[in-house]
Subunit: 141 residues, 6 copies
């Protein structure tokens, strides 16, 4: 079998628990509450976030793999999960400083962190699941 | 950060419980049973349906969002869920009148209902999960 | 190892899709709608039901099992699932005739059907999951 | 069928998203961090909590139900969910004031709030799921 | 309604339990262990695999379907599931002979088996979920 | 609040992937195949196993906990998961030597390993989920 011309998409799921709030410092407290509702609660709320990282590429003949998932797991852990898990996204996370802590903004920031580390294959999608009912995806475009 | 040129895909999940049957009135009862099997049962059967609505767009700098999910939730509820939940799709649902009640047809009908309401961003996908083992997606094409 | 004095609880999950409505024929339509709300819809609604059957007993030394799960699966299929799957519980199911089609009543009826078939071990629990948010259990007491 | 002597257990699942931290004010910051680890993070972290409330009782012949789940849902919403959802358990929740915000303590507090409202049947279990890997149950004893 | 020009994507999920190991016979045992880690364990390990098969096409007006899911289910069962379920992928599966038993290689092999059987519509995606944290997708390109 | 007389049940979920087969060495190959069916496949099959460990006890006033879940996690990992994960239960696992590799027997063996390590509270239940459709529980009796 020659899979060298066949593109597969491999996904790794990781997890973090964090606090956040939706708040625009250029708006008044009342404007924030009117727009974001209970998501603007000043003492924060939180979620169990599931993060899905998808890499596309051609499987190596020697390993049968696009990339070593153990390495991908380590890269995600050191650069993303360790900075978000059991943290407050508004207060504790350097890469979200001065950004509104929406999942739309978080998912773009995670893409920008991880992309340089993908040496084999190409980063394809970052998906972030905030609750059983809401999730966001970003394809780098 | 300037996310204004970055397209994110935001998904909201909603839920409804409904009865239906697969039945083509142009066919005889025997033809319907031969083709659709137990799905044609004259007294109906039913499902817990999960509906996923995905909108694509660029996050506003002020809100960090493509669109207000609370508004999207309300639009889906008023125009889709309230018309399907605890209903019989063959008998009670105006927008499925004279259509075969397959998930392929339902998902196209839901797209046509929701698309005019998406003011910020663009409707990207309607996904309808009928059972743990069957689902259908429609991208408006 | 002698497990002959150790009681284990073994559970098998099965599945059926059915229509039903909550309706008491002794009440008026208005009384039914006032009490049961949209669950009384005259054209029915439906669910994907998950059924969990738990048997308790002591594992045989020869087989390492309390009972043969393949036999349990067959008994559940022939006596319960085949009578409920893709059916209307109010109209099509003999063992629910003249009973209100609530999950509380269904679960007791399933216990009474299955108990005589459990030859090794003892029926311990019938659990019926109606939606992601509602389920009922019965322990035969 | 006479189910009046048969006890069934009916469960309702609700959901809330909240921030918390594990912190004992009688200990130093260092003692808290040594014992609770990252769960003591001063700016909080958070979770999607699933709450399961189980009531046991005998189904009424007229309704086929132990209690009206719509009423149970309302009682849980008004007295528990509205006080926890999108809140900070350490800072915003009156019934957790002066208590360590562990799930063991939260589940006992929820039991004490809900028990007086269960008029038909008897409160049987409060289960609180903090993450996919941790949950706690309390049976009132 | 004329859905004849609207493309829907219909997905069927199937399941198999199998043993495998990652091992390249051209490498030494030590090289395999260094690269694949515990996945190279000589006595194998195993998984519950979920397989998702997606077909795209235009729903027939008569049936409301792209293709008969009962037929798709049968084709998947006879040609894929029956050959993998309760098998050892390295030792027992003819279509994986002389291939490294990675999910990247399995998913391509399944595509090649199933594609000729899709008469109505077009095979769109094979997705194989190995664990709660890893999955792979292949789109035939 | 005095929770010292209130018993809570705290559960930790862990995970392992393993191969096994059902086979009684006292029986012939034919007898094993007749009884265990495809579960007796000589080259093994495998599963993603979920293990749930429940400890009951009274929450300490200082910590708000029955026991330190980080310690419980470590005890389970070192004594159970590390010996089962990516292993062949029939060939590689010392504590299952000379025992039939059924989930009924595995769950009893895990109880006997873990019980001596539970210093605060009392081991209450070991639950082992083999597939989405089968699981077993043991309460030490």
């Amino acid at each position: 079998m020659n899979n060298r011309k066949k593109t597969v998409y491999i996904t790794r799921k990781e997890h973090f628990n964090a606090a956040h709030r939706l708040f625009n410092p250029k708006w008044t407290v009342e404007e924030n509450e009117a727009f974001f509702g209970k998501c603007a609660n000043k003492n924060y709320h939180g979620h169990n976030f599931d993060l899905f990282v998808t890499v596309k590429g051609i499987a190596y003949e020697d390993s049968g793999m696009v990339m070593d998932l153990k390495k991908l797991k380590l890269v995600i852990k050191e650069n993303v999960i360790d900075k978000l898990d059991h943290m407050n996204i508004n207060e504790d996370v350097v890469f979200m400083k001065d950004k509104l802590a929406s999942i739309e903004n978080i998912v773009v920031a995670i893409w920008e962190i991880l992309e340089p580390f993908i040496e084999h294959g190409k980063l394809h999608c970052i998906k972030l699941v905030e609750t059983d009912r809401n999730y966001v995806e970003y394809y780098g475009e």
